[in-house]
Subunit: 205 residues, 2 copies
């Protein structure tokens, strides 16, 4: 595509570097900004720069944060006796959206993946160990770790590694239930999921 | 969705104002930028601001441009005797991509649409008339106007209006061919398009 303006071309090139956005979509977005107030573009540019330069990571759970401690870790009403271990911030948001969990989090910042060259030392595993080692002196000792990782090969590997590492602390270690999604149709469920849901059946009490 | 950081929330809000981008996609884009070099975000923000504040419109054809005249109008190798009238810059790019047209353009900046309250006076029609009125003194007088507007109700209305307005100039006025797309299947063509393609059949010479 030959652009009539170098400025447009540069903007389109930069926007199309974002994942899932091709040249045509980028051009549509740029032309949209051109039609709107100059202020909208300024606010967009400023909020992106501010976010990228000023955002921090929580010193305790490595979640994204504006301060040294994230709003979840700093909230005294959260249950400090449970830690939910997740891959990244998006998973924290996903669990928070369920409104079913009131404990704390630990964000690994990735998942063990030999293919992508990500090993345990690249993740925030040491800091989780450290967090649990300091646990004995805490007011509210940790009693349970929930491993909320994706049910993929990498997720299972990471969960297996963490289980081994966490065993010495004598905590309850759990994982989120795998099974048929709510609203899902048995007929269309894959055999692995359906098989697992039969093995992990829940007894009516 | 409750964000752990106000900075992230602001960025997501701004990004999700773009057309076709919802909150989830915006969050994915923002987290992607966070994983990349700070420089990438800076370049993106700067290119958007530069584009929005510095881009101009060509004084002759109203195409987007870095200078007073766009690269197409300023190019002496373009054929000044044909003007292709289009709705917006994206159409210029689409026609340019075909590499089948070497004339000039005139960008209307929209299309007559009573529903959206856009009338002829909101478009760059007067400047097209002015361009043709000054035609007699030009080195390379305009001989043909191609109306390359979308085959919709609004496009046809605009084309009809322009034909009436341009009649006094005694030029050849044409429109792009409507018919079965290349690679299209007769069986699946709609009856209006197929009917039009029979009426506008091309005789083998």
């Amino acid at each position: 595509m030959e652009f009539p303006s170098k400025l447009i071309e540069d903007a389109v090139t930069e926007v199309s570097k974002l994942p899932g956005i091709g040249k045509k979509t980028a051009l549509r977005l740029v032309l949209h900004l051109l039609k709107r107030d100059e202020e909208q573009t300024q606010t967009l540019a400023q909020s992106l720069t501010a976010m990228r330069t000023k955002v921090k990571y929580c010193q305790r759970c490595h979640n994204l944060s504006d301060d040294d401690l994230c709003t979840i870790c700093a909230n005294p009403r959260r249950d400090g006796s449970i830690i939910c271990v997740v891959e990244d911030t998006r998973d924290v948001l996903a669990v928070e959206n369920t409104a079913q969990y009131k404990g704390l989090y630990h964000v690994l910042g990735g998942i063990i993946s030999p293919v992508e060259g990500i090993g345990p030392s690249d993740l925030h595993i040491e800091s989780l160990i450290h967090r649990l080692a300091n646990n004995i002196q805490a007011d509210e000792p940790v009693k349970e770790i929930i491993l909320a990782l994706s049910p993929t090969m990498e997720g299972d590997t990471t969960a297996f590694y963490l289980q081994k590492k966490l065993r010495p602390f004598n905590l309850r270690i759990s994982t989120i239930a795998r099974g048929i999604p709510i609203g899902g149709d048995l007929e269309y469920a894959d055999e692995v999921t359906l098989g697992r849901s039969i093995l992990s059946r829940v007894v009516y009490e």
